[in-house]
Point group: C2
C-alpha cells in the first residue's frame, strides 16, 4: 500500500469493477490475478501491482474473493452512492444521451438539463424538464449536481464549460469535438468517437493494400 496513486492506475479501476461485476453475476467466488489479467488483456503482475496501491485484497494460494474485491473497488471509486448529472445541450446528441439507459443502473442520474433554445425550454425529455441556460448556476447548486455533460455544438463548448466551472462543477464529460480548457482542479473527460476512429486509420492505412 502506497500513497500518490498514478492516474493510469485509477483509470483502470472502472474496468476491473465492470469485469468483477460480470464474474459476480456468474456466481464466481474467487479469481486469481492470472485469470483476471487474461480477462483484460494485461499481465497478472500489473493487476497485482495496481491493486497493491489500495490495499491487500488477495489471499496467497487462492486469489481474490470476487464479492469482496468488487465492493472494495466500488468504495474506492466512490461508486457506492448515486451521482447527479446535468446535461447541457438538448439537441440530437443531448437527447440520445438523456435516453441512454446505461447510466442509472451504474449509479449516474441526470437530474437537470439545459438549453438556450426558446422552443425546447420547459419541455420534458426523459423525465427531466429542460431549463434555460440562465438558470444553470442556481440549478446546479440547488440540485446538487456533481457532474456536467456537455453536448452543445463545438463552437459553444468552451463558453458552456467556462460557465459550468464558474458554477463550481469539478467534473465534466465533454461530447463536443473540441479541446477545452479547464482549471487544474476541474476534471474533464472527452468522448469523441471520431478521434478514436482516426487513431485506427493510421494502422489501417499501413497494413494491407490500401490507397
Amino acid at each position: 500500500m502506497q500513497r500518490q496513486i498514478p492516474e493510469v492506475v485509477v483509470s483502470r479501476l472502472p474496468m476491473y469493477v465492470r469485469g468483477l461485476a460480470e464474474l459476480h453475476q456468474d456466481d464466481i467466488d474467487f479469481i486469481n490475478s492470472k485469470d483476471l489479467g487474461h480477462r483484460f488483456g494485461m499481465s497478472p503482475d500489473q493487476i497485482r501491482k495496481d491493486l497493491s496501491y489500495f490495499g491487500k485484497f488477495g489471499r496467497q494460494g487462492r486469489g481474490y474473493n470476487v464479492a469482496l474485491l468488487l465492493s472494495e473497488l466500488r468504495q474506492i471509486l466512490g461508486l457506492d452512492r448515486q451521482w447527479c448529472m446535468a446535461i447541457v445541450g438538448v439537441g440530437r446528441l443531448g437527447r440520445a444521451i438523456m435516453d441512454y439507459k446505461g447510466f442509472v443502473p451504474r449509479g449516474f442520474k441526470i437530474v437537470a438539463a439545459f438549453d438556450k433554445e426558446r422552443n425546447v425550454i420547459g419541455k420534458r425529455v426523459s423525465g427531466v424538464v429542460i431549463q434555460d441556460m440562465a438558470e444553470l448556476e442556481t440549478a446546479v447548486r440547488d440540485k446538487k449536481v456533481d457532474i456536467a455533460v456537455v453536448a452543445v455544438p463545438s463552437t459553444e463548448a468552451q463558453e458552456v464549460i467556462d460557465k459550468l466551472v464558474r458554477s463550481g462543477i469539478k467534473s465534466i464529460l465533454n461530447y463536443a469535438p473540441v479541446y477545452a480548457y479547464v482549471p487544474k482542479d476541474v476534471r474533464l473527460e472527452a468522448i469523441d468517437p471520431v478521434l478514436a476512429l482516426q487513431g485506427m486509420t493510421y494502422y489501417l492505412a499501413r497494413s494491407q493494400d490500401y490507397r
Copy 2:
C-alpha cells in the same frame, strides 16, 4: 525522424489534426510549438518530439505552416480518403450513431447496417437498409467495409466481434460496455462514457465534503 512510433504519439495525432483544422479555418498561416502546445495543454517539447517521429515540418525561427502540417498529418493518419463503416446493432444506440452528423464531414461513412431482429431488417435508417446478421460476411466484402461499429447489447458483443473478425475486419469501434477479445492484428477501440465517469468519481469522492 525515427522508426517504430509509440502508440501514444499516434493517438495524439487526431487531436493535432482537429486543432490545426480550426486554425486553418481561422486563416492562421503559421503556428509555433509553444502556441500549439498551449492549445492542447501540453509542453512545446512534446509537440516537437511527436512531430519529429514523422519528419521535419517546421521552420526555425518561424514555426509550422498550418496548411502544410495539416495536410501532412492527414496523410499520415490516412484521412485523405473516405473510410467505410458498418454498424452492427440498430437499437436505440445504433440509431443514434447512424443519425450522428459528425462522421461524414470527417471522412467516415456508414455504408451498411445489421441487426438480428426480423422487424427491423429491410427497413431504412439514415439512408441505409438494415440487413440480416447472416449477410454480414458477404456484405462486408462487397461493400468494402473498413471499420465496424458495434452497438449491440453487452451479452452479444463478443459473439458479434468474433463474427466481424472472421469476416476480415481489422478495426472495430465498440460501444458495448464489455471488454472484448480480438486477435493482435485487429484494433479495437472502446467508447464507454460510464467508464469515463467512474474514473472521475474517484477524484470527486476524494475532494470536498462528499459522502
